[in-house]
């Protein structure tokens, strides 16, 4: 067995813990669970197996295992009473770790880390772990429950495990009790699991009771266990369904008013969410963050027939929380509404307090946008760049800066990566082909500056949805040199948003040479992942890009914004300096340690200042100020 002390994080306590494994039949699962559990670091623990009235070989086989204590119950008492019987048999001075017998332990230091998380704050009462399915998909990184449906949901469920939610301590509303570290202080105060439930909902109930007693529930993202789900319960779907619905009704009666009362504001959010656009992606994130910050937000699609974007929106967002938000009932004239989109749909705002939230990539706003914005109680933009643009365009309504953000559970430097195994340094850029993103400049300069014999490559993730644009012809027209820097393209490939962090982590440097940006989400996401970035020193992203955390690309000035987009007519955008781009790419290629340090600094700054939580908190502050 590995030495425990050598693996303990500094300051980790060695408080005794009882590991309580509840088993009912399925000896094969219990045997696997115990075999893997007992091979991990278990200093200062006892293992107590509660045999919940098994009728198979479990009692006899448990008796053959040394080093464990067995509590034999005369019959199956169910999950709650079975665990409580075990809890009653534990030394009250011990912490308790409830474990299902369908767990598999592959991480030697799992208990050390859970203990360290529990000890990191006296207000922490319950600690859970990341749970994965045997096939490697993430199953659980905490839970949430919405008062509308009273159906608990597991965070991150069924996503490919790419290292998301790996913060050592992350506060959550609840956890599933397949693995639950419960501190003795909490147990002494609120006792065992509530007898209102036979199975299901007892874990969320416990976490809410802990919250009422002043304790937090957290997930220790440093611990991942394999959960062969439902291996330990009876398999009859009808009886499981009845059990679930009974517990759900009990839970609703007990906690319904409490959960509904956590909302301090009600808000209608009119926007776009189920299309692959920047507004839609950020809309989804803002809605989730607002819900977490106590805003009872209802969503409605703001575009559609007779608007500037005519398609009807698909109803299914493929996200449980967002589907619930979309189905919430809203009065025809709600107190407050935010339209988040182009300002030419501000007129659809249904609120008595009307807020318009928009952005644009040039140095001003079209007249009809300003006219629409003048009818808002206030206008929100993500950046000083856009605030100044509105002022210059004559807007006289109050303008508030509400920055966008990043979900650092999905964009952080610790994500899994799939780097180029051939040792080439990889520059990466992601853009929709068009005048604003200036792709020709990037391709030409990279191809010209580097040679095909140098260990360097540019990977471009390119989107083209314009049938009038022939991308191959556009790129051929650049006359890139065969002997020049090598370029690979990911054409029109749409990755699940939750996987994008791994894409960035697999590259070495992010490059954005666009002429103008309303925010530049890919740039911020890449920086959150710790990538050094080269980005045009003009536009909204100057809010978060500076010499200390990136490589700002000089501009030669501004030029007329000539593009297919009608909103840009008459305005200006940046003219990035090709020589400086050439210099910066070469500099980063030759000064990789410095670049890595800048990337690390960027990741720290984004995590500290630019998360969706920050965005939601700013919105809540504005709603409070407006009396919404």
């Amino acid at each position: 067995m590995t030495d425990f002390a050598s693996k303990s994080p500094p300051g980790a306590p060695s408080r005794k813990a009882t590991l309580l494994v509840l088993a009912w039949n399925r000896w094969d699962l219990t045997e696997r669970c115990l075999a893997t559990l007992l091979s991990t670091d278990l200093k200062n623990t006892e293992v107590l197996v509660v045999d919940n009235g098994s009728t198979d070989e479990t009692p006899e086989r448990l008796a053959e295992i040394s080093g464990i204590r067995v509590l034999r119950l005369p019959k199956n008492l169910g999950f709650v009473r079975g665990n409580n019987a075990g809890i009653a048999a534990v030394d009250p001075a011990n912490d308790i770790v409830l474990l299902n017998n369908d767990l598999i332990f592959t991480q030697d230091d799992w208990l050390t880390r859970l203990r360290a998380a529990a000890a990191s704050d006296p207000k922490i009462g319950v600690v859970g772990a990341r749970l994965c399915l045997p096939d490697g998909r993430l199953l659980h990184a905490g839970t949430y429950i919405l008062p509308d449906t009273m159906w608990g949901q597991q965070i991150g469920s069924l996503e490919q495990d790419l290292g998301q939610y790996t913060a050592e301590v992350r506060e959550v509303e609840g956890i599933v009790f397949a693995c639950a570290y419960i501190k003795r202080e909490l147990m002494a105060q609120i006792g065992g699991l509530a007898l209102d439930f036979e199975s299901y909902f007892e874990d969320t109930d416990y976490c809410l009771r802990a919250r009422d007693a002043g304790f937090k529930t957290v997930v220790c993202g440093g611990v991942t266990l394999i959960h062969d789900e439902h291996g330990s319960t009876q398999n009859d779907p009808d009886s499981l369904g009845r059990l679930f619905q009974t517990s759900r009704a009990t839970f609703r009666a007990k906690w319904g008013a409490d959960l509904a009362g956590r909302y301090g504001h009600r808000l209608l959010w009119q926007s776009i969410m189920n299309f692959p656009t920047g507004y839609a992606m950020s809309c989804r994130e803002i809605l989730r963050a607002l819900d977490a910050e106590g805003v009872e937000v209802a969503y409605r699609y703001v575009y559609g027939p007779r608007t500037v974007f005519s398609p009807n929106e698909p109803e299914d967002s493929e996200d449980y929380r967002l589907n619930v938000l979309s189905s919430r009932r809203v009065s025809w004239r709600p107190k407050a509404s935010v339209v988040y989109g182009q300002a030419d749909v501000f007129g659809s705002n249904r609120g008595r307090i009307k807020i318009g939230y928009t952005m644009l990539e040039v140095d001003g706003f079209p007249r009809d946008w300003v006219r629409a914005a003048q009818k808002m109680a206030e206008v929100w933009v993500p950046s000083e760049f856009n605030r100044q643009g509105f002022l210059d365009s004559g807007l006289t309504r109050p303008i508030q800066i509400v920055p966008l953000g990043v979900d650092t559970n999905y964009f952080h430097p610790g994500l899994h990566s799939f780097p180029n195994p051939h040792g080439e340094y990889v520059f990466f850029s992601a853009f929709e082909w068009g005048e604003r993103k200036e792709p020709g400049l990037l391709l030409k300069i990279f191809n010209d500056e580097f040679g095909c014999d140098e260990p360097v490559r540019l990977v471009c993730k390119v989107i083209n949805r314009d049938p009038g644009l022939k991308l191959k012809e556009e790129i051929r027209a650049l006359r890139l040199r065969d002997q020049g820097g090598r370029i690979s393209f990911l054409f029109n490939q749409e990755f699940p948003h939750y996987q994008l962090g791994s894409l960035y982590r697999s590259m070495d440097c992010f490059v954005s040479v666009s002429r103008g940006e309303g925010w530049n989400m890919p740039l911020m996401e890449a920086m959150a992942c710790g990538l050094p970035a080269i980005a045009t020193d003009w536009g909204a992203h100057r809010e978060f890009v500076h010499e200390g955390n990136a490589y700002p690309l000089r501009v030669r000035g501004t030029i007329p914004a000539i593009a297919k987009c009608p909103y840009y007519t008459g305005f200006r955008w940046a003219d990035p300096d090709p020589d400086h781009l050439r210099h910066l790419m070469r500099w980063v290629f030759e000064h990789r340690d410095e670049a890595r340090a800048k990337g690390a600094q960027a990741a720290r700054e984004v995590a500290e200042r630019w998360t969706w939580r920050h965005t939601a908190q700013k919105i809540v502050a504005r709603l409070t100020a407006l009396g919404a």
Binding site: Q160, R457, F489, N492, E494, F495
Partner: protein, 100 residues
């Protein structure tokens, strides 16, 4: 007469060699014309593969990531980051497995 015979044999040998050089020059010109045609009509990747095959090396595997290979479309295709990147990196260097 030995000297006459030697002279005749030398003349024949020179004639044969000159004919052979002429034939080789003709073959070279023909091959040169063929290569120029190939160069004119084939993308550089296929030229590279011709060269590699002629040298006994496997061809560079066809990835979906080169301009020449990509089929022009405005449709988006859903993809996995892991599978795509592993495929991309593998497409950059020929392997025996990839050449099958």
């Amino acid at each position: 007469m030995p000297n006459d015979r030697d002279a005749l044999e030398s003349a024949l040998r020179i004639a044969r060699l000159e004919a052979r050089v002429a034939a080789l020059e003709e073959a070279l010109l023909r091959r040169s014309r063929e290569l120029r045609e190939l160069q004119r009509h084939l993308p550089s990747r296929e030229l590279l593969n011709l060269s590699r095959l002629a040298g006994g090396l496997p061809p560079v595997p066809h990835g979906r990531y080169d301009l020449e290979v990509w089929r022009e479309t405005t449709a988006l295709s859903v993809a996995s980051v892991e599978e795509t990147l592993l495929d991309l990196w593998q497409s950059l260097t020929p392997t025996v497995a990839a050449s099958r």
